[in-house]
Amino acid sequence: MRTLSYQLSSISLQLKRFFIFIGEIFALFFETIRCTFSSPFYFSRLMEQITHIGYGSTSITVVIGLTMGLVMTLNFGYGLAKFGGTLYVPAVVSLSLAREMAPLFTSLLVAGRVGSGIAAEIGAMNVTQQIDAIRALGTSPVRVLVVPRFWALVLSLPLLSALSFAVGILGGLIVCKTEFDIIPGLYLYKVFSTVKFHDYMSGLVKSAVFAGIITIFACYKGLNTRDGTKGVGLTTTWVVVTASILILVTDFFISKIFLVIW
């Protein structure tokens, strides 16, 4: 009896912590939005972050985009060739790139690169009392640190996904030309007649949502880092794992929503 009540109370404690956590995440999100639309807005900090977070991620984006394009085209090509469906390869590849693969994989990689970076930076500032200093000097850590990073990634990640899509299409074009004798003209015609406006939109909206998830979770965890250097390490790992899982889960729901409303 006693163990049961003990377990129940520990479960209820865990649940309570979980709901508090969700509440704080949303509170940080709404505070970020509120600070965005009230002065001062740090434009130079935003540009700095776009350079650092967005522009700094272009090389890994190109690599992942090109790899996806090459590999998917190769596999779909040989798979569909058995049924004489090689001509459908451009359509299949471009559609899955635009709707799923480009935004999803780019975001997962960026979650690793940028999410961990933000969490480590803000976490280290927290354990060295720099966050307290920002507050003690009459300024808001959300305004100074979170808002520029949030908008930098929300603006950059859709562009990075678009870049990854474009490079992926290029990869597909190369494989189609060399392996399956589909000339570039036909390939591009197939691609652009298959992928419609809402497919592009689905990818872009997803990327923006993923960007929001990455930055809010990374900033939240950074601002709540405890226990010195060890805490910073734990924070970084936690952010990458949590953000990646959330991206995968959210991806399913956004895909579903887009399929229903369009």
Partner: protein
Amino acid sequence: MEQNLLELKNIHKSFGENLIHQGVSLTLKKGESLGLLGGSGTGKSVLLRSIIGLERIDRGEILFHQERIEHLSENQLTPYRIKMSYSFQNGALFDSVNVFENIAYPLFEHTKLSYDEIKTKVADMLKLIDLEGKEELMPSDLSGGMQKRVGMARSMILNPEIILYDEPTAGLDPANTLNVVSLMQKLKQKGIASIFVTHDISSAIMLCDRIIVLHQGKIIFNDTPMHFQRSDNPIVQKFINSKE
């Protein structure tokens, strides 16, 4: 009668089971320096952090110019954090920007001064803390003592009415200690009130108008440095003797 600049009434604060403050009351008048002594872990830092709102107290009142501020939100605290500043134990400098940007930060945030005016102000401030021409250095290039002084410069650039010093001389060699103490003396002469948390009893006696001793969550001594030295309170005695 002189008005109190800052007044703490019956402050209670605990972290979970750990009771830190159990009814702390004190007053600070304009231009006055208070020395706050107490063993390690008695909650001196927590008291300073509570005054400036970095930590929330459980019970009690904090009055600044007779206005209660302990219940204010982060945003509402902003004007008070301009008039009352906190000098962190290790400086807490922003390590991604240089000395100039660190000291200029409050000016960029809270004043409408032009870039050139800010530059002059920061240069004057650097002269005051004996770090003339060191604008371009990064915090990691500075010694511990220099970092502390830059941190102090950042906390006093807006001419606050009160500065809360958290162990400004801890971990410094005698020469650097003297530097910091003489800086504090200059600020005192400008009429800035202060609370000076320290383990360095001789500096406190030299600098402060009153000495306060915190022990087991309560204030057990609150009088002039002269009375402090002559006190027969056993805990105070222990403090004085630990000096030698």
